[in-house]
C-alpha cells in the first residue's frame, strides 16, 4: 500500500450493518496490515481472525483509596466530585468505583493527604497475529461503564510508529466512545444497510465525521434489487459510494460462522479487493487535496 500508516476507521451508527465484515476483510486483503477492534464492549473481530501468539495486557484505571485514620471528615473530596462517586457515610467518605472517572480531583482536594490511588482493572488488550495481519482487540470487563481508557491504550501505544495501513473497527452509535475511535483516523468508511433504521443512523455518523472534518465514503451493505434508501441519501448529499456488498446467503453464512469471506472464496476476495482499491484511491485523493494530515 502506497500511503503508509494510513488509519482508516470503519463506523456505522446502527449496529449490525457490517462494520466488522468490512474491517476484517479489508485488513485481510491488504497483505500486511493492522486490525484494531475498538468495539470494546462487544469485540468480534478476534472471533474471525483467531489470532495466534496472543499477548495480553490488563488495562487499569486509578481509583481513590481513603486512609480513614488520616481523614478529618472535612467533606472537601465529596463536594469536589462532579460524578457523585464519593458519598459521606457515617462521617467518612466512601468511594463508588463504578461511577469514578479517575480524574484525581478528590486526591488533589484533600488537605490531609488522606487519599491515595490504586489501580483497578477494567479490561484488557489482546495483541496477536493472523497471517500477516496484526490483530489488536480491546475487551472491557462486563459491568464496567466506560471502555474509553481501553480504546486510548489500543490506539496510542505500539501502533503509533507503524507504517502499515491500520483498520479501526468502531463501536456502534455516535457517542464519546466512537469519537475516541475516529479521532486520529485519516479516512472514515461508513457502512450502512438499506433500511430506514440504517439510513437514519447513517445520517448521524455522517454528521459526526463532518463535525470532525474527516474525509469519508459509504459502503452499501446487504444490497437487494430495487430502491435503496441509503443509496438515495448518498446521492442527495454527494457522499462517495465506495462499494456495494450484495445481500448474499453464502456471505451471510460465512460471516455467521465467523469465517473471513475473502479468505474462503474467490468471489468475495475479488469483491473486497476492488473495495480496497477504491478506498486506497479515495484516501490518496484526500491526502493530496487535503494534505494537512
Amino acid at each position: 500500500m502506497k500511503s503508509k500508516g494510513v488509519r482508516i476507521a470503519i463506523l456505522s451508527g446502527k449496529g449490525g450493518t457490517g462494520k466488522t465484515l468490512v474491517s476484517v476483510n479489508l485488513a485481510s486483503i491488504a497483505e500486511k496490515s493492522i486490525y484494531i477492534d475498538c468495539d470494546v464492549e462487544e469485540p468480534n473481530g478476534h472471533l474471525f481472525f483467531k489470532p495466534e501468539k496472543v499477548q495480553e495486557e490488563v488495562i487499569t484505571v486509578k481509583i481513590p483509596v481513603i486512609n480513614d485514620s488520616m481523614c478529618n471528615g472535612c467533606r472537601r473530596c465529596v463536594d469536589f466530585c462532579k460524578f457523585n462517586a464519593l458519598a459521606f457515610i457515617k462521617n467518612k467518605p466512601y468511594v463508588f468505583e463504578e461511577v469514578c472517572h479517575s480524574c484525581g480531583g478528590c486526591m488533589l482536594s484533600c488537605s490531609e493527604n488522606a487519599i491515595g490511588e490504586q489501580e483497578k482493572p477494567i479490561g484488557k488488550v489482546l495483541r496477536g497475529f493472523s497471517g500477516s495481519v496484526s490483530v489488536h482487540t480491546g475487551m472491557m470487563n462486563t459491568g464496567e461503564a466506560s471502555g474509553i481508557p481501553i480504546i486510548k491504550s489500543l490506539l496510542n501505544d505500539s501502533i503509533i510508529n507503524e507504517e502499515l495501513p491500520i483498520f479501526v473497527d468502531c463501536p456502534p452509535g455516535s457517542a464519546c466512545i466512537v469519537m475516541e475511535s475516529i479521532k486520529d483516523a485519516d479516512y472514515c468508511i461508513l457502512v450502512t444497510e438499506p433500511t430506514i433504521f440504517g439510513v437514519h443512523n447513517l445520517k448521524m455518523v455522517y454528521d459526526l465525521v463532518r463535525l470532525f472534518k474527516k474525509p469519508h465514503g459509504v459502503v452499501l451493505n446487504k444490497c437487494l434489487d430495487g430502491e435503496n434508501p441509503a443509496e438515495m441519501f448518498c446521492i442527495e448529499n454527494n457522499i462517495p459510494i465506495l462499494g456495494r456488498i450484495p445481500f448474499d446467503n453464502e456471505l451471510g453464512r460465512l460471516n455467521s460462522d465467523a469465517k473471513i469471506a475473502s479468505r474462503e472464496s474467490n468471489r468475495f476476495r475479488s469483491l473486497f479487493t476492488s473495495l480496497l482499491e477504491t478506498v486506497k484511491k479515495e484516501v490518496r485523493h484526500e491526502t493530496t487535496v487535503n494534505p494537512q494530515r
Binding site: 457517542a175 464519546c176 460462522d257
Partner: protein, 295 residues
Amino acid sequence: MKQLLILSGKGGTGKTTVASAFIKLSSAKVYADCDVDAPNLHLIMAQNTEPKRTDYFGMAIAEIDPDKCIECGLCKENCRFDAISNENGFKVEPFACEGCGVCEAFCPANAVSLKSAVAGELMLYVDSNTIFSTAQLKMGSGTSGKLVTEVKNQTKTTANPDTRIAIIDGSPGIGCPVIASLSGVDMVLIIAEPSISGISDMERIIKTSEKFRTKIGVCINKFDTNLANAEKIEKFCKEEGLLFTGRIPFDPLAVCAINNGQTIVDVDCPSGRAIREVFSNAMELLFKERDGVEA
C-alpha cells in the same frame, strides 16, 4: 408498572423490530427508546402529536478565558483526559473534557470556568392513550447514561401508576447507556442472532444483566440463517437456566414492513406470526411471581 427492557449486546439483531411488535401486541400505554445514541423506535411508532421537547444538559465542560489566563500550564499538567492543548494559548478540547473540574480548582488566575451546554434533547409524546419517551444525544456528547436515566424518568413521572406494562427499547453494547437502562427494570429480553459474533455478544450482555438480578429471557432472531448456531444458543439457555422464549425466522417481509413504518405484526408475515409465541412466553415470565414472592 412492569418494565420490560429489550437488549441484545450485538447491534442490528432486531431490538427495535421486536420492541415495536411487543408494543402493539401488549397494547402498551407506556414505551421508551433508551438508545439515545442512535434512536429508531420513533420511525415506526409514529405519533400524530408533536412531542414536548426538553433540552438535556450534560456535564458542564471547562472553558478558559484567554484574557485571564496567565499561561502557567497547571491546568494542562493536572488534566487526566488530555483535554487541554497549548497551541497559541491554552484551550479546552470540548470533546475530550469530562467536566471533572480539576483545572478550575487549580487555576491560580480564576481563568477556568465550567459551562453547561445542551448535550441532547428529550422528547415526550403524550396523547390520550399513550406515553412515548425518547431522546437524541447531540453529536459528540459523552453523557449518554445520564440521558437514558432521564428518558426513563420521563415515563415514570408521566405514566399512570396503574399502568400494567412499559416496553423499553435498549441500546447495543454493555456499557454506560445499557447499564443505565437496566437499573430498575423487571425483565430483560435478549434478542440473539445465530452467529459466532452474536453468541459471544449475547453471553456478555447476559453477564452484564445478571449483575442487576433482573429476570432474563432470550429469543433468537433470523434463527434459520444458521441452524447450528441457533441450536447452540438454545443449549446455552438451557444450561444457564435462562428462559428461551422462541425463534423468529429471517423474513424479507419484515424489512418491507419496517421500511413502510409498520411493525411486523401489522402485516401478515412469517416473522410476525412467530413473534406472538415469543411475546406470550415473555409475558408469562414478566408477570410470574418470583420464588413465591410478590414480584
